[in-house]
């Protein structure tokens, strides 16, 4: 089995606060990995390590190794812009730009230098189709993306992310602001996308983790308590704390 991402002895600090403690995890290619755990346990901080979004925070410090396809992404020689193109991200709150539907999806392509109109149109259509949104928006591509429903906006954000053809897609609680029907649509989409992309999803929703993921890691107080196949974690957890969490005894 090939690994896309390998994290070794990762420690993350904000000022003096140690947010992640000796995190070790290997994430497999083209498979969905779910990160579960109570609020404030460091899941979001962890996935933001993988596309270096934490770099935006002044007080951020880290040590340890984070390898993407065997290369250390925190090596000074790494181009952060290029890394973020390879590791896309979908945020908790749908955050389309205040631009048209088309321009939202074309944005990433344009900043990476694609200007040909036909090629842009094709890629935008492909991406919207891949995000199962094309049929709903094909007649309003030039309308503001802010006019779409929350679920549509989130799928637009996914379309925008896959338009730049990343290898990995990080999803930070992508359904937490959505209704059940929109959530189902996003989950169906995740199933479709996992064939081509390595997906890491943070979720508070235990059922969601069992529905979409093959592997699961349980975070608590900045540590990975247990990780393994989703079946094993949910059916026969090895650690008492994992069991307490998934059975709803705390968190």
């Amino acid at each position: 089995m090939e690994y896309r991402i390998e994290v070794e002895n990762l420690n993350v600090y904000f000022d003096e606060l140690r947010v992640l403690k000796d995190v070790n995890i290997k994430i497999r290619k083209n498979i969905v990995t779910a990160l579960i755990g109570p609020s404030g346990c460091g899941k979001s901080t962890f996935i933001r390590i993988l596309n270096r979004m934490n770099d935006l925070i002044d007080t951020f410090r880290m040590d340890g190794g984070v390898l993407l396809d065997g290369e250390d992404i925190y090596d000074p020689k790494v181009d952060v812009v290029d890394l973020r193109k390879r590791v896309g991200m979908v945020f908790q709150k749908p955050n389309p730009f205040p631009k048209s539907v088309f321009d939202n999806v074309a944005y990433g392509l344009r900043v990476h230098g694609l200007t040909d109109k036909d090629a842009l149109g094709e890629r935008v259509e492909e991406s919207l189709k891949a995000a199962a949104l094309w049929d709903e928006v094909k007649d309003k591509l030039d309308k503001s993306a802010l006019g779409l429903s929350g679920g549509q906006q989130q799928r637009l954000c996914i379309a925008r992310t896959i338009a730049v053809e990343p290898e990995v897609i990080l999803m930070d609680e992508p359904c937490s602001a959505l209704d059940p029907i929109s959530t189902t649509k996003i989950e169906d989409l995740i199933h479709k996308l996992k064939k081509e992309y390595t997906i890491i999803i943070v979720t508070h929703n235990m059922q969601q983790a069992t529905r979409v993921s093959k592997y699961t890691a349980f975070f608590l107080h900045g540590e990975i308590i247990e990780s393994g196949t989703t079946d094993q974690i949910f059916v026969e957890p090895r650690d008492k704390r994992t069991e307490d969490y998934i059975t709803g005894r705390f968190g």
């Binding site: 596309n51 979004m53 935006l56 002044d58 812009v81 290029d82 890394l83 973020r84 193109k85 896309g88 991200m89 945020f91 709150k93 955050n95 389309p96 730009f97 205040p98 631009k99 944005y107 990433g108 344009r110 900043v111 990476h112 503001s144 802010l146 006019g147 954000c157 925008r160 992310t161 730049v164």
Partner: protein, 291 residues
């Protein structure tokens, strides 16, 4: 019972304060029109607005050169202040480290509080001689006035635009960076466009200050009533006209100065309507603006 009575008193009190400020402004406008209209009527509104000669001793009251003077000075100063101000705002909002912003922002806001006579005096003592040496002539010119005005309106444009840029939701910035855009691409393509309504507001405020400014302009613009042939010619602004001559004006001359005020008032209204229209249109097209 007493609670609802209290509410009633507070609501009415607020209403009265709001109304009184509107009434005061309305009264001033009415007064200006009452005093100014006789001059417009007797000289003819078209002659007054488009007349080229202003010579009160010969009963010539044409303010057109001063309209050009006011518009010219304002346009020229906006031309310099807007690009400078916007780049400075982008620097403060996006690039400057926190410690630097903490010093720069209050400093810039303080600049906005310096009285215009100080800027005018600085212009008279420092800038006019420099202009005289560099470009010849007297040094009193439209350009000199515009440079002083640029310095005066920069703080407004910088601080209001910076607020607009900073109030663009952080999510947009994160989304753009997460797609692999560079910081500058993010500023240029996402943050700046989203902040445009607020940036237009800053330009409107700067323009309002520029067109209404009197004292500093009197001190450096030369105040000659003429349509300038170049930016190095001296000009007189509408505001300056009122301030310079009000001390000794009587009769129709006195009314003509109020009529100058009417022209200034109408000009500002037209500019504001135009600017607000732009602001509104931009807000509608991008769907939600900031500030």
């Amino acid at each position: 019972m007493t609670k609802s009575k209290n509410e009633f008193i507070i609501e009415k009190g607020l209403l009265i304060t709001a109304l009184s400020s509107i009434v005061i402004i309305a009264l001033i406008i009415i007064f200006i029109f009452i005093e100014g209209l006789p001059a417009m009527e007797s000289y003819g509104p078209i002659n007054f607005i488009f007349g080229l000669d202003w010579s009160p001793s010969d009963n010539q009251f044409g303010v057109f050169p001063m309209i050009i003077g006011s518009l010219g000075i304002t346009a020229l100063s906006l031309l310099m202040a807007v690009p400078l101000g916007l780049f400075c705002a982008m620097f403060l909002a996006e690039v400057a480290p926190n410690s630097m912003r903490k010093i720069l922002k209050p400093t810039i806001q303080t600049l906005a509080g310096i009285p215009s006579v100080v800027y005018g005096f600085f212009g008279l003592i420092i800038l006019v001689p420099i202009m005289r040496e560099q470009f010849g002539g007297t040094g009193f010119s439209m350009l000199t006035a515009s440079i002083i005005l640029t310095v005066m309106i920069l703080p407004i444009i910088i601080s209001v635009s910076e607020d607009a840029l900073r109030s663009v939701p952080h999510e947009y910035k994160e989304a753009s960076l997460a797609l692999g855009a560079t910081h500058w691409q993010t500023i240029k393509n996402v943050i700046f466009p989203a902040a445009i309504p607020g940036i237009i507001t800053s330009i409107i405020l700067g323009m309002g200050r520029a067109i209404g400014e009197t004292l500093a302009i009197i001190m450096v613009a030369g105040n000659v009533v003429q349509i300038p042939h170049s930016i190095f010619d001296p000009v007189r602004a509408l505001t300056s006209n009122i301030a310079i001559e009000m001390g000794y004006a009587t009769g129709i001359h006195y009314n003509a100065l109020f009529a100058t005020g009417i022209v200034l008032f109408l000009m500002i209204i037209i500019l504001l309507i135009f600017a607000n229209y732009l602001h509104y249109k931009k807000k509608v097209t991008i769907g939600g603006g900031y500030l």
